[in-house]
Symmetry: C2
Subunit: 148 residues, 2 copies
DNA sequence: TTTCATGTAACTTCAATAGTTATGATTCGG
DNA sequence: CCGAATCATAACTATTGAAGTTACATGAAA
């Protein structure tokens, strides 16, 4: 399949929303992400289902963050997106009769399980507030550079 | 794309070859792996290029392991296959101008880099001999169970 | 020289996200 | 109430790379 960039997308969208006062429309977000508003609705819909954002129709409608930035972690977002497969590599057969293949699967499964546990643990440590703070640092640095 | 199962495939193939005296043909291996001999040649070709196996044409031809089972690690095989992407998830844009996206990428890249380092380290610790030994244990267990 | 085997090109299939088009359903301003 | 703004959703097509298939060329051995 194509690389799954939905986690990256929703993070990008959420941080832009966090920098704004009012709601942002799917069109606004689509411009920020250089994509299509339907893709935005489709992906952000998962976050709405998870209670992280709300969407309003009609005039002055759009998307708003309802959760606390310091509480929502990358792990929450990954879960909200349906816990998509993290690895592009895996076993060819999950429940083989062949003992050789069982030995191969056992070794690979063990390694992948450890890497996945580490990745999810890291995701659980990073909040939207952390990313917003990092953005602020980068923004200040750029302003300073322009000053010189 | 489809899940990449080439590492799993070549491990399965190599262990079957290790259990045999003579060479195995692509057809033999294709039967073990429940796939097509052309797929076997295509995939095993990477291992031949890396010096792990050799292939001979004609009568009594086929594939043979030339490397030491206790030396070849999963890491060697992963490298021989061209170090394919391990993750199915990633950034939507690797070098964005947008500072928000840069902050998002930095956080994701860090987490993925740590998980990848762990996974590759584990791969580096597991040799073909380890897997062959694990297979032997499983085989003995199955024989014992049949005895009862 | 025939048979067995690999080597390889050129496809089709597959799976899941990304992207597009079209239409319907709400909400709100006037 | 009308119409514009906005989301909701269905139904496509595009994309990407591995997997699978077909066909044919090449080389080695009986």
């Amino acid at each position: 399949m194509k690389r799954d960039s939905r986690l990256s997308s929703v993070l990008h969208a959420l941080l832009h929303m966090a920098e704004r006062d009012g709601p942002m429309t799917s069109d606004d977000l689509a411009k920020c992400l250089a994509t299509n508003p339907v893709v935005v609705r489709r992906t952000m819909g998962f976050l709405r289902d998870a209670g992280i954002v709300t969407s309003d129709r009609g005039h002055a409608g759009g998307w708003r963050i309802t959760a606390d930035l310091s509480v929502v972690t990358l792990r929450h977002l990954h879960d909200a997106l349906g816990e998509p497969a993290l690895f592009a590599v895996g076993n060819r057969n999950e429940a083989p009769d062949c003992l050789v293949e069982q030995a191969v699967n056992a070794a690979l499964d063990q390694s992948f399980a450890e890497a996945e546990a580490l990745l999810l643990a890291r995701f659980g440590e990073i909040t939207l507030a952390d990313l917003a703070a990092d953005f602020a640092v980068r923004y200040a640095a750029r302003l300073k550079q322009k000053d010189l």
